[in-house]
């Protein structure tokens, strides 16, 4: 069993090698198939660990047994399994989608090699026993995302997005490196399973870990890189948002529970940051008119939910967090792939120029609907089960503010995703699109999206499968034993879930009542003629995305201005440049007449050495 621990990494890296070796021989489509099969192989090897993980076992493997202290030791437990499954499972679906999506793209070898390294990077991160090796993987996925976001580097927008990704995630990454080195300095080990490491943990080190995680997991105020990364190929966005990038920070936070007991203040900090992130992501998503940017801000908000769940710090909170991580990967991956299909077919992702696509792209529309209901938390989908778990955890721990914010912004989620759904798929097809040959995604692309959307439904109807096989072992690896009994549709029979189950039944009853009232009091289709003060409004007049965006923009304008940290970053950059320019002018003067400064500096050095040597 232990030998299997390294198999997924080996398969993925072999895939990279094959891509590079066969670069000149294969078509882009063939490279896509190869990448997919290697992804699938990695998924199979991860799945083969499931029985052991379910039994609560850990799997360790030293990749370099001949070294006394190898930096490449793997250690797989429930938490590693969860994230490795997300990376390889969702990654494989995305690679399948890529076969057609990237079929006509030059640079396929670069693309698929980076995608495989990207997935391998996350698998390596979550499997590393050594924190230094984990940091290496952390930065490797950072580098992959930089190169993939800038895949179309000839386009200034793509290049700008890549630059922001690198700057905003690499710099906070030094906090992680410093934290790891401080731990090593105190304990003499990089192994996070070594008890000596635990004794070195303190709030300062926790905060350093958190800063790094915040940047990767788009937490306020380090979140502004992700909307700018939207000019990447859509499969990259999907992988970035659902599986391999933003989840790295979540893993780091979750793993801290395995390493050290948490102080209550750490929970408060994480919950506060999570809640602010929920609000910021939700508010900014409301005002977007670009479909992918809307989804990007939605990711920020959803990551806020996930980290808030982990911040609660109870067994139920840990379970909610692990369940949410997987569920978010599924529905966000699906939504991005659908957005990619829309852009592929319509040539734009500007919602002001879209509409009525359900008629031309019925398959994509159905899949989108399923995933959008999941993100909105509609029953029968995994989104419902996961939000339910989160609310339950907040209720149980008495975190009323968390509950209030999570509940309120769930309605914001429903609102912005509904806005996107209506404006992209319903209404009248714009004239510009009516003239174009807009058609549905190819069967392979639909299959890639469909598998993920199907999983949203499966784990909504039978969430106990996900809880038992994935989420609960992950929570156990974090040091929690969630005694939760969940059955179909997320109904809970354990003591913790009884009030929530009752609440849900009441909500269901209220919904049913509302539907009945609506059915009996439905207004006539004819409507009532209303004098509008002039000519009648055109028949197809409807609220467009710009109307919603303008309304939300005006309503929340002060909040949006206050919560945007980019102006602060820009001022910082300008100040730094100003100092640099002034210093540059001085240095140029020195270059023209170097003698005097050199003599003066030499005299100073002599003096300092003389003083330091005791005169």
């Amino acid at each position: 069993m232990n030998a299997l621990a390294g198999l997924s990494l080996t398969i993925l890296l072999t895939g990279v090698l094959v891509q590079l070796l066969l670069s000149r021989l294969l078509s882009a489509r063939a490279k896509g198939w190869i990448a997919f099969f290697f992804g699938l192989g990695a998924l199979a090897s991860v799945l083969s660990l499931a029985p052991a993980v379910q039994r609560g076992e850990t799997i360790a493997l030293d990749l370099l047994p001949w070294q006394a202290e190898s930096a490449f030791s793997l250690y797989i437990d429930g938490l590693s399994f969860l994230f490795a499954l997300i990376a390889s499972g969702i990654g494989s679906a995305i690679l399948f989608y890529c076969i057609d999506y990237m079929a006509d793209e030059p640079g396929a070898t670069r693309f698929y090699s980076l995608m495989l390294v990207f997935i391998a990077g996350l698998v390596g991160l979550v499997s590393s026993q050594s924190l230094l090796a984990a940091y290496l993987c952390w930065e490797v996925i950072g580098l992959c995302s930089y190169l993939l976001v800038g895949f179309w580097y000839q386009q200034p927008e793509a290049a700008r997005g890549a630059r922001k990704v690198l700057l905003m995630t690499h710099i906070p990454g030094y906090a992680l490196l410093i934290a790891i080195l401080l731990l090593y300095h105190g304990s003499g080990t990089f192994s996070w399973t070594d008890p000596a490491l635990v004794t070195q943990f303190n709030t300062g080190i926790f905060l350093l870990f958190l800063v790094a995680a915040m940047a990767k997991s788009v937490m306020f105020p380090l979140h502004t890189w992700i909307p700018e990364a939207m000019n990447a190929p859509t499969p990259v966005s999907a992988l970035l948002h659902s599986a391999c990038y933003v989840k790295a920070g979540v893993y780091l936070v979750a793993r801290l529970y395995s390493i050290t007991p948490w102080q209550p203040s750490w929970n408060v900090i994480l919950m506060a940051l999570g809640c602010v992130t929920i609000v910021v992501g939700g508010l900014f998503a409301l005002v977007q008119t670009d479909l992918k940017r809307l989804l990007a801000f939605s990711t920020i908000s959803q990551l806020g939910y996930i980290l808030t769940a982990f911040g609660i710090g109870t067994p139920l909170g840990a379970l909610a967090g692990t369940f949410y991580v997987f569920s978010h990967g599924l529905f966000k991956g699906t939504l991005f792939l659908c957005a990619g299909a829309v852009q592929h077919a319509a040539g734009t992702r500007d919602m002001r120029q879209l509409g009525g696509l359900a008629a031309r792209m019925p398959g994509t529309a159905r899949i989108w609907l399923l995933a959008s209901t999941a993100i909105a938390g509609v029953p029968l989908t995994n989104g419902f089960a996961t939000k339910w778990l989160l609310f339950d955890a907040a209720l149980e721990s008495g975190a009323w503010i968390v509950l209030l914010i999570a509940w309120l912004f769930s309605s914001f989620t429903a609102f912005y995703i509904l806005k996107a759904t209506v404006n992209v798929f319903y209404g009248k097809l714009p004239a510009a699109l009516a003239e174009k040959n807009v058609h549905d995604a190819s069967p392979r692309m639909l299959a890639g999206m469909g598998v993920l959307a199907g999983a949203c439904l499966l784990f909504g109807v039978a969430p106990q499968l996900l809880v038992r096989w994935v989420a609960a072992p992950a929570a156990q690896a974090m040091g929690f034993s969630p005694g939760l009994e969940m059955t179909f549709l997320g109904l809970q029979s354990g003591s913790a879930g009884v009030p929530v189950t009752t609440g849900a039944l009441l909500t269901g009853a209220a919904l049913l009542l509302a539907i009945l009232v609506y059915a009996f009091t439905r207004p006539s289709n004819q409507g009532t003629p209303v004098y509008t003060g002039g000519d009648p409004l055109p028949e197809d007049n409807r609220l467009g995305p710009e109307d919603f965006s303008e309304f939300a923009g005006e309503a929340f304008e002060p909040a949006l201005r206050a919560l945007d940290p980019d102006p602060f970053y820009i001022r910082l950059w300008q100040a730094m440049n100003g100092v640099a320019r002034r210093l540059g002018a001085v240095a140029e003067g020195f270059e023209q007449r170097p003698l005097l400064p050199v003599v003066a500096a030499s005299a100073l050095v002599f003096l300092l050495v003389w003083l330091a040597s005791g005169g």
Binding site: G584, V609, A612
Partner: protein
């Protein structure tokens, strides 16, 4: 041998391998992109002298051989650009005299007294410090490097920075082990110089619009990290500094090489006003990106192996505060490198419809090999424990 015993890294072998790679690469490069008259034979002979100097059995041999190589390179610089030569030659001569005088005063040319402070200890330390400050372009003694890097041919700049400077740095590292009194008790001065180089170099690099001058200031910036490793004096610090020096040598080869290719096409110095050059020369763009990221120690590039040890040295020397200061300086370096990458190499070309780029197969090959080495060597210590130390 002293460095090997202390760090586990065979510096002489590792430097020789890197120097051979760079010399071969720069010679192939010069065959396709002219680096000026006499470049090839001066490149080969000075590289041979430098490597011989690194392997020199005694301090006096090492100093003499490295100084002869430096004089030969100064002659090349003089031929290519007299104003640069007028700055570089006094530095070579002055630096050599100061170092030699300091070593003689400190008794370093006689094995017996190397480990204890000689009678003229203070003067010896000051002379050695000043001599190396001049040779290694440590701020504020760095006045000669930016004009030189901006005016001589790219591979001449590589010869100066990647081979001569890094060999001199290896000599200073050897002195750290053989004559620790040069550093002991003066750590404050060395750390101050290191921080001055890190921040001064980074800010001055940020102020540049000419890419070659920016690269020169980035060498000064990086020297700060390397000095910090020596100041710490621990095995990790020394190893980090030596690995950092090897990485620096390779990265600068790629960076200057890429700039040279761009200048060949543009027929003018490369500045931040250019746009989208990678569209025309994708491999040169890749070489620049790899070199830039390698310089700041982004994993998995070779620089990372040195950089994390240097950060650890920073923690050992000055606690978390010094490590945070180092990280902030690295962030500055990231800013100027990323600005260069994104303004000059990526994006849409400013001049559409230029003639097709001349094929440069040997240059492409050297870039490919350089990038591969930089990216893959990071995994070597795990596979070959004896090679790159602990």
């Amino acid at each position: 041998m002293a460095l090997m015993e202390n760090t586990g890294l065979d510096w002489r072998a590792a430097f020789t391998a890197v120097a051979a790679l760079i010399t071969l690469g720069s010679t192939l490069y010069a065959r396709q992109i002219s680096q000026g008259r006499h470049f090839i034979w001066i490149n080969l002979s000075s590289a041979a002298l430098i490597v011989a100097g690194v392997w020199g059995p005694t301090a006096i041999w090492r100093v003499v051989l490295l100084d002869v190589a430096a004089l030969l390179i100064a002659a090349l610089v003089w031929r290519q650009d007299q104003p640069s030569g007028r700055l570089f030659l006094p530095v070579v001569v002055g630096g050599s005299i100061l170092v030699a005088a300091g070593m003689a005063l400190g008794g370093l040319f006689s094995e017996a007294s190397a480990h204890s402070v000689a009678a003229g200890g203070t003067a010896a330390v000051a002379l050695i410090l000043l001599g190396f400050a001049l040779k290694l372009a440590i701020l504020p003694f760095s006045f000669w490097l930016p004009p030189l890097a901006g005016r001589v041919s790219p591979m001449t700049a590589v010869l100066v920075i990647s081979l001569l400077d890094m060999a001199e740095f290896g000599e200073l590292a050897l002195l750290r082990v053989e004559a620790p009194w040069i550093f002991d008790g003066l750590q404050g001065i060395w750390v101050a110089l290191a921080l001055l180089c890190m921040y001064g170099g980074a800010l001055l690099a940020l102020a540049q619009t000419n890419l070659r001058r920016m690269l020169a200031f980035s060498t000064i910036d990086d020297m700060g990290y390397l000095l910090l490793g020596l100041a710490a004096g621990t095995a990790g610090g020394l190893l980090g500094a030596l690995l950092g020096a090897l990485s620096h040598a390779l990265c600068k080869f790629l960076l200057f090489g890429a700039v040279g290719v761009a200048e060949l096409d543009l027929k003018r110095p490369l500045t931040l006003d250019e746009r989208g050059l990678a569209v025309r020369r994708p491999l040169a763009g890749a070489a620049f990106i790899a070199g830039a990221l390698g310089m700041i120690g982004v994993p998995p590039f070779l620089g990372f192996l040195g950089r994390w040890r240097l950060y650890l040295s920073g923690i050992e020397l000055g606690g978390p505060a010094l490590a945070v200061a180092m990280a902030a300086a690295t962030a500055l370096a990231l800013f100027y490198y990323i600005r260069a990458i994104h303004r000059v190499w990526l994006g849409r070309p400013a001049e559409a419809g230029r003639a097709a780029a001349a094929p440069l197969p040997w240059v492409r090959l050297t870039f490919l090999v350089g990038i591969a080495v930089l990216a893959l060597v990071c995994f070597v210590p795990a596979l070959l424990p004896g090679f790159s130390g602990r």
